[in-house]
Symmetry: C2
Subunit: 204 residues, 2 copies
């Protein structure tokens, strides 16, 4: 009988397998990451263990808006100075700090947790749409702003939300379409240009 081959140590094989499952991490990247962590940079590995364990322990979803938060409700929902009559609907928790950085919005948020995508099997029931409807039905909400991606799935989600929230007596708006800041016409696609043309505003 042939002698057994010598393979990678079990704990290294298991680490590579765990990394390999992550989004955007193929077998080669998983192997490279695992070796980097256990071989080249143990400090980075130990930091990652600590921070990932801490994030898992501390982060929860805000019961009202669905944002990732360490406190319940999240700091935005708990802030009495935010305008309680406005809800800005976003796809992901990370969209919130992007809008906050613009410093023009002082209302509340609602995280859908994705966008409707029949191709990828994401149905309206998979998103936090019922919770949004419930928040609007409870009353006190004047305007719902859809700050969704301007792609096909984002548009489909916006369309579905317009149907769901229509007739509830709330003003429904979306982010303005048009030219991004600092853009040249020659580097702007025709769909964006068309929307910017339609959304043109008077000067002065």
């Amino acid at each position: 009988m042939e002698k057994p081959m010598h393979a990678l140590p079990p704990s290294l094989r298991e680490l590579i397998a765990a990394l390999n499952g992550l989004p955007g991490v193929g077998p080669r990247t998983a192997e490279r990451l695992a070796l980097y962590l256990v071989q080249t940079n143990r400090e980075a590995a130990e930091q990652l263990v600590r921070r990932l364990a801490k994030a898992c322990e501390r982060l929860q979803f805000c019961e009202q808006c669905g944002a990732l938060t360490e406190t319940q409700p999240c700091p935005v929902c708990a802030d009495p100075e935010r305008d309680q009559s406005m809800i800005c609907v976003v796809e992901k928790p990370v969209d919130i700090p992007l809008i906050e950085r613009a410093r023009v919005y002082r209302g509340l948020y609602h995280v859908l947790g994705g966008k409707i995508s029949p191709l990828r099997g994401v149905e309206p029931e998979d998103l936090r749409i019922a919770q949004l409807e419930e928040r609007v039905r409870r009353g006190g909400v004047r305007e719902v702003i859809l700050a969704l991606p301007t792609d096909v799935e984002g548009d489909a989600t916006a369309h579905y939300l317009a149907e769901t929230l229509g007739g509830l007596g709330v003003k429904l708006t979306r982010l303005g379409y048009g030219m991004p800041a600092g853009a040249e016409l020659e580097h702007t696609d025709e769909l964006t240009l068309g929307r910017a043309m339609e959304g043109r505003a008077e000067l002065g």
Copy 2:
């Protein structure tokens, strides 16, 4: 004074920063990975924490050959049935199971931990070359096989090793160059074809 903006929770920001430092992981991927782990798949996150902690705790470098191992010395070095007179030199620990799978080599290994690359600041002293020389000087070694990458840096490393080990009375070989298995000529680069031509063998 303006009200403070609401940002991502600290533990999430810290996790993204830790991921962002890893090879091949940019800020966008780090964000996507962090959200996937804490938001979409907590089980994957907890598994990764466990496996990474375990790998860090168990894996060490074999004191003789430099392979990643859970035992000291590693299973190959500890195996009395392996041919102690042959050392196969590889760049990375993961190269060992690749060679083992070919089931033609029954000697020992030596992991360099990289290849000489002045451009990336990797000098001979950064690799386990002195340890290899020491192993050869100790005696009992008949042949050293260089199983290094066939790129410029691999060739430079092989050249340096040939100089270092020359005169120590050991036979120095490298892996054969030529056509890879299952390759068509039209998809084979000219350097490989040239080497295959030089390394041609008689039939029958």
